[in-house]
Structures are given as structure tokens and as C-alpha cells.
Symmetry: C2
């Protein structure tokens, strides 16, 4: 495993005094950082914070591998029914570690319909035979509206295809005891994997939530967890100036205080692209909070942005270099790509192509990264790099763990609860009310009244 | 065509006085707005600003349709080689208007490798036979490093498969006269479509840049342009309070002045998802500028963010509702989805699912949109809605034109040049230098020296 944090370009030495950080500023956080580390260690130990233990669940891993071996033989398709933390990690695993066009030639074909767009889901139905498809429903409570609705949608086709045997094509990953999926599983013999109750959705990728689909599509989940374990040790270092989770958190904390309230994650690798989507949820939902733990109004939170190098040099970099200096940019860089075919100039009369001769696409991509890094740094735009020696299961596992630990650290420094999401409740309640769910009648009246009184401004 | 702008929830009447806008504030911009409209009309007329005329190029359309009919018969695969403005629009057209899993059952299979990740591109090679593949190279200058490198990469396989007939599988879309692709096309009889010189990359989706791949995959490009033409008329309205391009620009301009420097585009539709990616380039690259037209330092520009409803309710909405009130959110809403199968509760013992019975996924998705809109509005977070009556080529064409016109308007209000991108030059030069291109030797020395002197801070 080799994932390295290079924070040279946030330091005043390289990015200048106006927008750089000094070692002294980071060191001033060491006292608070140690308190946070102690608190996190204690929570990991007394099992109130479960994600720290996920890389060490050997029994679960073995159960997943056995199940996956059977499923790969039995099914032509795998459909993952989950949303948010139940989908973003699993998707990132697939796109980073499998053939980019996996579904064109491999089985089981893997699908992740993590939205309730009826046309999108209908398109999927045209390509699968439900009776030859495993439907993996992932939800702690089973009550998540989108997940329940998607499951019920596919149930029609499962019943049509398999009749009373429909349950044989269902797999649940849910709470050990509670929730609606367990109610169903008590009635039908449906295989269930478990999400530890002390693990929140956005910290669950290394649980069965992410591991089951990974194993089914042939990803080496042992290597994934090995990488995560190695990173767990590194993120537990007492010497915080050598602890990348603390450093990542401290640097972002300091910039948030300096009004750099946008955190861009920009992989220079298509394979790593969806890691940035996973990070978006982790960072936004954990740190976007109205109140701190003392109950004071803080309205804190960096807005995470997903970008992609080199592609977004032709889309976002103009803004990053010349626009407001309100961002911290984290590059993901790959040291060695798997393929390194040298280019040739097949149009020798075009002298302007000659510089590409004998170079590889990887060299070009990494030169572009370095060039963008230079342009940002020379324009006093702070940036960091997480450098993967290569794209491997071990490194992806390490990446997940590092960012989870960094997020926990950042929550501690900000003195907020990084593990809840009170702000989504209002929307959930309003959805139930608008959908006419029993028990939400008063809320429904209230909302309809508000909508009636709303003054509308529309141009058509 | 029916794309409607609902800006109710940016008005003080609905979102409150602290974060809302008054009609008076918008009306105060009318004078300036009229100047901008006059200026844009003049530039459209004297052909310095070409995107206004693109929906009216009947001859080109007919040529594209003829070519596409032949290409659909001749080729098993289509590979689009372009980046940034040469790829984002074409991709958004495919994902919004085709079967979501088009490549699993349709031909020609459509691929858009818009990055130079060697592993990603190598994965593609495994799935196509170059001799049965049309390679469409899109670049005004032909010199774009990523585009040139990708073309040269595939050239090896074209030469291997077709020998000296390689050129028969090439198609160029480029400048009418200038540039490297024209040099090649003068040597080999390669079919060329043209990008009008007065149309910038990010405004080019309705030129052959976007229309060729659309037509080849079977999209109704006549309908697309019809929608754009209708919107062109609407965006030319003298009464600016009824002109959605002006209103979109004015609202965002006013919020930029109030430090809401993030513009989220959040389609509640998977099909419309990549429209937000296209918008990201348009908004960021056009408005992210260091200097205004008077040469004054302004460092202006909203950071555009792509989100997706309902999925990102489980990722970003916690931050949007509770975090810093620094965003303007634009929803894309679909009135009527194509599919509207009613759900059933196949687990009648689970009372908690009953509210979904007899509802459609589309009803759920739109209820979620309304719920999120309410939650944001009640928390004084300004938001707008662009409402499509349905996902259709006409409406997508209208959307493209509306946002292009709005961006031109916003540039006028900000008094910046919305049509250049000076900030990407540094990166380009550094890339050439690092790649050892002839003529960049001095720059290379300078960069290597800088890298040598850089103080590194790394944790591994």
C-alpha cells in the first residue's frame, strides 16, 4: 500500500504568505488534535464509532466471499438497490477497480440504479431478466423511500418471473435486528448481511454495504481491507505531524476559518473519478452543520466539488486559476498506470505532434497534473496531492480509511457532530406528507397551505 | 417546446428579506440589461458572436443527416475524440436522449474517451475493432494535447487494421481553414465538418461538434434545433422582465454581489444529469475571470456544482440546508416522465410501504423535489427551477440555448469577457514544457528549477 499526502503547496514556502499556512499555524492545533485523537480512540474502543473496526471483520469477509462465489455462478445480473451511503462507495469500488466497460463483456452484469427516475429504471428493465438477476437491497432501516420504492418496482418483475420463489433472488444488507427488511426476512428465507449499528451510511463502504458487490464482481476484498488496515495504523499515529488524517483535517479546518469554503477533489485518473463522488457525501454531510456540539449556531461546512483531470482543465481550471481564491484543491495522482504504450507520430509532416512521439498517455496525464499544480501554486491557490503509487485495491482501501479518519478529525476540530444529519429530516417529512403517508396528515395540510400562499414568479 | 423558469424562491416574498431579492433590485438592472442585450444583438448580427446563429444552419444539418445515415450503416462503433467543449455537450445529448444502457443493445456503440487516462483508454480498445470504428476527432486547432495524443494512440490500431486506408475511418470537426487537422485532411481525403470560427468551444454544442454524434446515435437533431430556435426568440425579448436569459443572469449576478458564490445545478432526473456537467464548463470558464473589460482586478466567478436529485438528498442536502448560506440552487424538473407504472405493496404486512401503493416513481421523485425545495426555502436558501414539460430533444435544445444566452448576459452584467479563457494558457505552456515540446526549452528550464527549489512537505 502506498498512498502519500503531499501538502507542500499549502505551505507559505511555496504558495506565499497571503494564502499559505505556516507550520506554526498547524502546530497550534496539536493540543486540540490530541484531544480529538484521544476521543476518537475511545469511541473506537467502546464501539460507539464503528468504522474504525470495519477493516478487521474477518468472519464477515469470509462469509461474503463464500456468498459471492455462489452468486457469480447463479446470476446473469446484479442490481444494487440503495442510495447515498448505500451506493456511492459500492459504485466507486466498481469504477476504480474493474474494466471500465465491464458490463459489455463480463457477468454478472453490475447495475446500481441509485435514483427513482422512472425512465432510467425502465431502461434497465429492458436489459435484464429479473428471474436471472440478484437484487441486493441495502438500507439500515428498510424505510428509505427511494430504496423501498425501487425494491417494490422490481418486485413486480420478480413475482412475474419466479412467483412465490421471488425471495431467492433477493439479498438484504441491513441492521442486525431492527427495521423493515428484517421483518420481511423473518417471513421469507432471504439471506441478510449486517451493517453494524455504530456505522453510519457514509462510513460504511468497508462493511457488506460495499464489499458484497465488490466481491461479486471479482474485486480482491482482502487486498482492499489490508490497505485499509495499514492506513488505520498510520492514522492512529501519536505524532500528529506525521498523521495524514490529522494533517488533512487541520489544513482544511484552517482554510475554512480563512473563508476558503470549497473543497475540490480532482483525480487525475478516470478510474479514481467516483472516489470524489464518495468524498462529496462524506465531507458535505459530516461537516455541513448548523450547530456545534455546544448548541451554538455555526452554519459550518465546506462545499465539496468533484472535478476530473485532465478533462476539467478544459472546464474548471480557468475559474480555479483566475476566479475567487476560495478553494482548497486536492489532487489524486497515480504514480504508475497499468498501461504504458508509447505514442508514435503517424503524421510526421505535422511537426507540432512530434513532442508526443515516444511518450505515453500516462506521462502526458501526469505532466498535465504537474502543470495545473504549478499554475495554481504560482497564482497562490492552495492545493494538496494524494499520490497513489498505482490504482490497486490496497490503495483504494487505504484512501477510504484515510478520508473517513480525516473527516472524523475535522469534525472534532470544528467541534461539531460529524456523524448525524439532522438537516435532511425536514425534507423526508415533507416527502412523506406530499406522498400521503399515514400519520403525516397535519404536515400535509400545512404544506399544501404554504404552497397555496406562495407568491409565484414564472417566465415561460 | 416548454422549458419554464420559476424564480419564486429567490424572491423576498417566499425566501425572506435576509437572503431574498426584491423586484426593485432586479428592475434596477434593466438599464444595464438593455445595453447588454443591444450589444449581444449587434455581435450576433455582425457575426462576432456565432452561437446565436447555430440553430439556423439548415444546410449543415442536412449534410450531417446524410453523413449520419451512412455512418450508422458502415460502423459498429463510434469513438468521439475531443475534450472540454468538444465533449461535454455531445455527452449530455447522448445521456439525456438515448436509452440509458444504449451500448448494451444498440449500434453503433458510442464512446466518448474525453481524457488521456491510459488504463481507461486501453479498456476501450478491448471492446472495439478499430477497423469497424469511426473515430471523430473534434478540435478547432487540432493542437489540443489530449485530443492529438488520443488520436495518435488510436492511429496505431487503425493502421494495423486498415493500413493505408486508415483515413476512411476518420472524421474531423474543425476550423473551416486553419489548424493541424486541416493539414492532415489536405493530404488524405478525410471528411470534415466545420466549427464556425466565431463559436467558442463551450458554446458549440449545437454545431457539428454536438450534432454529428447525436445524429449518428439516432437523436432527432431537427427537433433539437427547433427547440433552440424557439428559445432564441424568447431570449431576444425586449421586455427583460419576461426574458429568462436576462432573469437567470440578473439573479445570479445579484447573488454573486451578495457573496453567494456557488451555483448548484440539480436535475431531478438521471437523464438530465450531464446537462449539469455541460453547464459547469459554460458557467465556470465564461465567468471565472481575473480582470474585467476595463482591466480592473476583479477575480470574479461563481463555482458551479453538479448535483443530482433525489440521489444527492442523501449526500449534499444536509450541507445545503444547514451549512453556509452561500449558494444559489437551480433545479431541473421534469413535468411528465415517459414511464408511469404504478407501484404495488408486495409486502402488505409492512404497513410502512403502503403510502407507495398506486404511486409512480415519477410522483415520488417530484414529491422529493418539492420537499427539498420547501426545506431550502423555509431555511432561506434561494433556489430556482427550470421546468421541462418532458425530456425531449426540443426541450434539451431550448435548455442549451437558454443557458448560453444567460451566460452571455451574465458576462455583460459583470463587465467581463465571457468568451475567452486566458487562465488556462499557463497550464498549457507548462504541459508543453514538461513534455519537452520544441520551442519551450527556456520555460522547461525555468520550471525544473522551480520544482527543484520547492520545499516539500510529505507524509507517507
Amino acid at each position: 500500500m502506498s498512498v502519500v499526502l503531499d501538502f507542500s503547496n499549502v505551505m507559505t514556502e511555496n504558495v506565499g504568505t497571503a494564502h499559505g499556512l505556516s507550520i506554526a499555524e498547524i502546530e497550534a492545533l496539536l493540543g486540540k488534535g490530541r484531544e480529538v485523537l484521544d476521543d476518537l480512540r475511545q469511541k473506537a474502543e467502546n464501539e460507539t464509532l464503528g468504522f474504525y473496526k470495519l477493516p478487521f471483520q474477518e468472519e464477515t469477509i469470509s462469509e461474503i466471499k463464500t456468498y459471492a462465489t455462489g452468486a457469480r455462478k447463479r446470476f446473469e445480473n446484479y442490481v444494487h438497490i440503495g442510495i447515498g451511503g448505500s451506493a456511492l462507495g459500492p459504485i466507486a469500488l466498481q469504477t476504480s477497480l474493474l474494466d471500465s466497460y465491464y458490463n459489455l463483456s463480463k457477468t454478472p452484469k453490475m447495475f446500481f440504479p441509485d435514483n427513482v427516475d422512472p425512465d432510467w429504471i425502465h431502461d434497465l428493465l429492458k436489459h435484464i431478466d429479473a428471474s436471472k438477476t440478484l437484487f441486493h437491497v441495502v438500507s439500515k432501516s428498510g424505510a428509505t423511500a427511494e430504496t423501498a420504492a425501487t425494491m417494490l418496482y422490481f418486485m413486480k418483475y420478480l413475482k412475474d418471473g419466479l412467483g412465490e420463489n421471488f425471495y431467492k433472488n433477493l439479498l438484504f444488507t441491513t441492521d442486525p435486528v431492527q427495521g423493515l427488511l428484517n421483518e420481511i426476512a423473518r417471513q421469507y428465507p432471504i439471506k441478510c448481511f449486517r451493517i453494524p449499528p455504530n456505522v453510519g451510511g457514509r462510513f460504511s463502504v468497508l462493511s457488506p454495504v460495499g464489499l458484497v458487490s465488490a466481491a461479486i464482481s471479482g474485486i480482491d476484498i482482502d487486498a482492499l481491507l489490508k490497505g485499509a488496515r495499514e492506513m488505520a495504523e498510520i492514522c492512529n499515529r501519536d505524532n500528529l505531524m506525521e498523521n495524514p488524517a490529522f494533517l488533512y483535517a487541520a489544513i482544511h479546518f484552517l482554510y475554512m476559518k480563512k473563508n476558503k469554503n470549497i473543497s475540490v477533489m480532482m483525480p487525475y485518473s478516470n478510474k479514481l473519478r467516483d472516489l470524489a463522488d464518495w468524498y462529496r457525501q462524506l465531507w458535505a454531510e459530516s461537516l455541513g452543520k448548523r450547530y456545534n456540539v455546544k448548541g451554538e449556531l455555526v452554519e459550518t461546512g465546506q462545499t465539496p466539488v468533484k472535478a476530473l483531470g485532465a478533462t476539467d482543465q478544459h472546464s474548471q481550471v480557468q475559474l480555479y486559476v483566475e476566479g475567487p481564491n476560495d478553494k482548497v484543491i486536492t489532487f489524486l495522482e497515480v504514480g504508475q498506470f497499468e498501461h504504458s504504450e508509447a505514442l508514435d507520430n503517424y503524421f510526421p509532416e505535422i511537426d507540432e505532434f512530434n513532442y508526443l512521439k515516444d511518450k505515453t498517455l500516462g506521462e502526458l496525464l501526469n505532466a498535465e497534473k504537474k502543470a495545473t499544480e504549478l499554475a495554481l501554486t504560482n497564482n497562490e491557490r492552495p492545493n494538496l496531492t494524494l499520490r497513489f503509487d498505482r490504482v490497486s485495491a490496497e490503495n483504494i482501501g487505504a484512501f477510504f480509511f484515510l478520508l473517513e479518519a480525516a473527516t472524523a478529525f475535522a469534525g472534532g476540530l470544528l467541534e461539531i457532530n460529524a456523524f448525524d444529519q439532522p438537516g435532511v429530516e425536514q425534507g423526508k417529512i415533507a416527502t412523506y406528507a406530499l406522498m400521503g403517508r399515514k400519520g403525516y396528515e397535519t404536515k400535509r395540510k400545512e404544506i399544501l397551505q404554504q404552497l397555496e400562499q406562495k407568491k409565484t414568479f414564472v417566465v415561460s
